[in-house]
């Protein structure tokens, strides 16, 4: 069954995530990116950031938590067996540092009904503890229609 376009604008969250340095380093190692901006406090002191920062694509962790209530939304009735992550987009507005408290609010920004699949986009806007928007992450899922 097609995903109803009336759900465009439906909101999820907000959800809050506290950034830890060790977790940031673990993520950096997982994407094989041991950049000293992330890993080395001494090096990081000499940068314009004055301390270590977190890899930008760590956004998928702090904002990705929104996907769970979205997937499990009983109203939306997504066919999870037929769902794949189709597209991803990020906009970064500021760096993330250990100790930041990031709050992400989600909204269904688009739904398209195509012949063989539907696409549903979930946009998460993440704000830090100073009220500054740091990232917008858009997760677009494709849900193939069963024959």
């Amino acid at each position: 069954m097609a995903v109803d376009k009336k759900f465009i604008g439906k909101k999820y969250g907000p959800m809050t995530y506290e950034i830890g340095w060790e977790k940031g380093k673990e993520y950096a190692r997982a994407i094989k990116n041991e950049d000293p901006h992330y890993m080395d406090k001494e090096f990081a002191k000499s940068t314009k950031y004055g301390g270590v920062i977190i890899p930008p694509t760590f956004a998928v962790v702090y904002s990705g938590h929104l996907c769970m209530p979205f997937f499990m939304d009983p109203e939306l009735k997504l066919d999870l067996m037929m769902l794949v992550h189709g597209e991803q987009a990020f906009e970064f507005f500021d760096v993330i540092r250990p100790g930041d408290v990031i709050t992400t609010a989600g909204v269904i920004s688009n739904i398209e009904n195509k012949e063989k699949l539907d696409t549903v986009s979930l946009e998460g806007t993440s704000t830090n503890q100073h009220g500054k928007v740091v990232c917008k992450a858009t997760y677009t899922f494709a849900i193939r229609k069963r024959a």
Partner: protein
């Protein structure tokens, strides 16, 4: 040293390579929290027709992001990044990221990026990024 954004010109670019080692999906699952069995359970991957486990698409995109921030020398210079997940990436694959600057105005530059496997297949498509001050 961080690259000066105003020195970036149309036609600039780079190529980077990353090998998907045998345990990459396990590391990425642990770090990201995405334990979908298609990424960590080879039997499940076989059963659903993927020929074993496949790498998280966001890990492939993470490799692309690394190539960009290595090139700029400043992770904070990455302002936009997007892609479509086109083909599965398997363990042992070698992923090449080839980027070229298609627009630059002194404060922002746009990169169009090809992300391919060792057979030349585009595993990500519609990949683009913006870097800036």
């Amino acid at each position: 040293m961080a690259k000066n954004i105003k020195d970036i010109k149309v036609g600039d670019g780079y190529t980077a390579k990353e090998e998907v080692d045998k345990y990459r999906t396990i590391y990425y699952a642990g770090a990201s929290g995405d334990f979908n069995p298609i990424h960590i359970d080879p039997e499940f991957g076989q059963m659903v027709g993927l020929g074993g486990v496949i790498l998280h698409g966001l890990c492939t995109l993470g490799f692309a992001a690394k190539s960009i921030t290595d090139w700029t020398g400043d992770p904070g210079a990455l302002k936009k990044l997007k892609c479509r997940f086109a083909k599965p990436v398997h363990l042992g694959d070698v992923i090449t990221t080839a980027a070229q600057v298609t627009a630059a105005n002194g404060s922002r530059a746009t990169l169009e990026i090809k992300v391919t496997n060792q057979d030349g297949v585009d595993v990500l498509t519609m990949v683009s990024a913006e870097v800036g001050e």
